[in-house]
């Protein structure tokens, strides 16, 4: 399968549509720099591999992610189109790759193949057609079917890439890929992983064995703190404790009047569940103890009433006693009233006498004043009778009335008043005592009625009997209270005992469980997962050992095949290298084999690596020789029959360019060659010194308006 022609349109420097035939054994594109010759080779790659050469790399190191169109064509809406006309075993076919001018970055190209029957396949079907037709993948193509100076040189200079390309040259790609696949799985690491898994499981198993023993020891220490000796850590003791718990709870329930359900004492789980709930049931649900509070309240009420009664009764007795004493000490109420009346009368008399004395004084004073005014010293101003010494006598009389009589009358008044006051006080005391006695008696009656109500007795019962009945009933209540308090206290004690026994039972059950676990080791081999694990390990071990075996076998076979193919490769490599360089240095493929790896190098006759001492021209020549060797081999074993070389004459002098022309002619015996080169010795040699049919295309100057153009095209 080889291309017969290429048509490009809007591809990089190529603007308008151009068609170039490629059916001659040698096609040369000759042009000065920048006229579109490299773009033409890139167009073939893009048409065949699409995004692989634009996104992942063009095959030219410095041109990764190159743009499909020149930037000067922003307004051009026509799509980029590259078409390859192919000659296949079935007939001619046409591959077309098209991309619209405004396609988004991730938008797929329009890729179609028109096969020899005229059927047009598109997208994946077209890609599949290409693969089925034996088209090499991009990696193989860039290594064996195209030559870009920098990339080819790099592949020869780098030790790793040189080894890889020699692997391909030896036809051992599959060997290398197989060994790389096996190495990527890392079979030896699988055994390490298996060992780690088993070791981790062993560790867990040891821990599982030690843990119950350790737990047993901890429980025994707890038992010692609970004062349980080793003999008590037994199943029979646990049964005894369960029986005791249930029996004592039943007894308590009866005393408390509780209707409760009790578990079968032989059912350990049921007993455990019940035992945790029993304290709450016993503490809060006893009908017998419900009355205790009522009794306590009634007793308190009794106590208060009796105290109150005793207080008011005592007060009453006291008042009665005082009243009696007061009465016994003097008059009764009537006598005291009479005495007050008498005292009051006497005071009135004293007051009257005093007032009369004062009136008499005033009359005499007035008379004396009238005598003095009339200047009749002995004439009575009333009867006008002369009374000798009247004025003096009046003076003496006034003095007497004002002094002695007045004092006596005043004293009598004071005495009468004092007596009245005393008499009144005595009367008030008696009245107050009588009133207080009545009040105290009322209170006694009131308390007595309350006691009657409390004791529910009728009015005919005497006070003495009421008190006696009260005391009797109080004692009866106290007796009830004492009994219920004893029951409550007993209940609390029993609950406490119950909880302590529960703790003991819990500890014994824990100990029994731990002892069972300590005595019985887990039999992993009996578990279904154990056999599953072993099956998986066996399978993985088998898989790993098979992989290791295959890896080792593949390495041995690769080594053997390397040796057997080396001579053939050396011959082809030597042939092309000698043609280009006219140098008879025998470069040979050398195989380096270690336990794990196989690598290749090019060595000279002395067996030393040849590349480090080569000059630029020799390296270029070597990279071309390596490519041509591969191309020849691929042309003989694969269907693709085109090698495209871009500017292969760099660094080569005229002699070597002449050699290169001979090498190209030699390779054209096996496949078509498309050579892009600047005008010079190589183009001259290809034009004039090659005997094979050839198509010579000369490109004209590139212009902004027309892009690349074909200046001249001849077939020789």
């Amino acid at each position: 399968m080889k291309p017969l022609a290429i048509t490009v349109s809007r591809f990089r420097g190529w603007k308008s549509e151009h068609r170039i035939t490629l059916d001659a054994p040698i096609t040369s594109i000759v042009a000065e720099n920048g006229r579109g010759k490299s773009s033409l080779l890139n167009a073939i790659e893009w048409c065949l591999y699409g995004a692989e050469v634009t996104i992942k790399g063009s095959g030219i190191d410095e041109r990764q992610n190159w743009e499909l169109r020149t930037r000067v064509e922003k307004d051009d809406s026509e799509p980029t189109v590259v078409m390859l006309e192919l000659d296949t075993a079935e007939g001619s076919a046409l591959i077309t790759r098209k991309r619209s001018a405004n396609a988004k970055a991730r938008e797929a190209d329009q890729f179609t193949v028109q096969d020899s029957n005229g059927t047009v396949l598109a997208g994946d079907s077209a890609e599949t057609w290409l693969v089925d037709s034996g088209m090499p993948d991009w990696e193989t193509y860039r290594r064996a079917h195209c030559f870009h100076q920098e990339a080819a040189r790099q592949r020869v200079v780098s030790t790793t890439e040189r080894s890889a390309i020699l692997t391909a040259l030896l036809g051992l790609d599959d060997d290398l890929a197989l060994r790389n696949t096996i190495e990527s799985i890392q079979p030896s690491k699988l055994f390490t992983e298996i060992d780690k898994t088993l070791e981790a499981l062993n560790k867990e198993a040891r821990r599982a064995l030690d843990f119950p023993r350790q737990r047993l020891s901890e429980i025994e220490n707890e038992a010692t703190e609970m004062r349980l000796d080793a003999n008590q850590l037994s199943d029979s003791n646990a049964n005894t404790l369960r029986s005791r718990l249930v029996a004592r709870a039943r007894e308590l329930a009866t005393r408390l009047g509780l209707e409760a359900d009790f578990p079968d004492e032989k059912d350990a789980r049921a007993v455990r569940d019940w035992a945790t709930k029993w304290p709450a049931t016993a503490r809060f649900s006893s009908p017998a103890l419900v009355s205790l509070e009522g009794h306590r309240r009634r007793a308190a009420e009794f106590d208060q009433l009796l105290i109150d009664y005793q207080q008011v009764d005592s007060t009453w007795q006291e008042v009665q006693s005082k009243l009696q004493q007061e009465r016994q000490s003097g008059e009764d109420e009537a006598q005291r009233i009479a005495k007050v009346t008498v005292a009051n009368d006497k005071l009135t008399e004293a007051n009257t006498a005093l007032e009369q004395n004062n009136a008499k004084v005033k009359l005499l004073v007035d008379a004396k004043a009238a005598i003095e005014e009339a200047n009749h010293k002995d004439e009575c101003p009333v009867c006008e009778t002369d009374v000798p010494g009247l004025k003096e006598r009046l003076g003496v009389e006034i003095e007497t009335l004002r002094s002695d009589d007045f004092v006596a009358l005043q004293a009598a008044q004071e005495s009468a008043r004092a007596k009245l006051d005393r008499t009144k006080v005595a009367q008030d005391v008696l009245v107050a005592l009588v009133s207080a006695e009545a009040t105290a008696r009322g209170r006694v009656d009131e308390q007595r009625d309350k006691l009657r109500d409390l004791l529910t007795i009728d009015e005919s019962i005497t006070v003495h009997d009421i008190l006696a009945e009260g005391k009797k009933q109080r004692e009866s209540i106290q007796s009830e209270i004492t009994g219920l308090e004893a029951l409550s206290s007993d209940r609390d004690q029993r609950i406490e005992d119950h909880q302590a026994n529960c703790e003991r039972l819990d500890l014994i059950e824990k100990w029994l469980g731990a002892a069972e676990r300590a005595e019985s080791s887990i039999d992993l081999s009996a578990l279904p997962k154990w056999s599953e694990l072993n099956e998986a390990i066996d399978e993985l071990a088998g898989f790993g050992s098979d992989l290791e075996f295959l890896g080792s076998l593949a390495r041995d076979i690769q080594a053997e095949r390397s040796e057997s193919r080396a001579a053939e490769v050396n011959k082809a490599l030597g042939k092309y290298y000698a043609l280009i360089t006219q140098d008879d240095t025998a470069l040979q493929v050398s195989v380096h084999t270690t336990a794990q790896h196989i690598s290749y190098d090019l060595v000279d006759e002395s067996g030393l690596s040849a590349v480090p001492i080569l000059n630029q021209a020799a390296i270029n020549a070597l990279s071309l020789a390596v490519l041509f060797s591969q191309s020849e081999d691929r042309a003989m074993t694969g269907p693709w029959e085109l090698v495209a070389v871009d500017d292969p004459a760099q660094s080569l002098d005229s002699e070597k360019q002449a050699g290169l022309a001979r090498a190209i002619e030699e390779l054209s015996n096996h496949c078509s060659i498309l050579v892009a080169t600047v005008p010079g010795h190589l183009s001259e040699r290809l034009r004039n010194y090659v005997s094979k049919r050839r198509h010579m295309v000369t490109l004209g100057p590139w212009s902004r308006t027309d892009g690349a153009c074909i200046e001249d095209e001849i077939d020789l």
Partner: protein, 63 residues
Amino acid sequence: MNLWSVLEERIVQQGVRIEERLNLLNELKVDHETGGVSVTERKEALVLRIDDAAACLTETLRG
């Protein structure tokens, strides 16, 4: 004779686990030709089975 045929022949000659190794070789060949990863997936599935079984056993041991 290509690589795969040579490998098949050597596996048979070796006479150990012939069926398993031929199957594995075929799997590798198919992966190689199709760009598949079935061998890697098989390894990962086996590792996962071991991890699951080991985790289950560990859980059992821890009670």
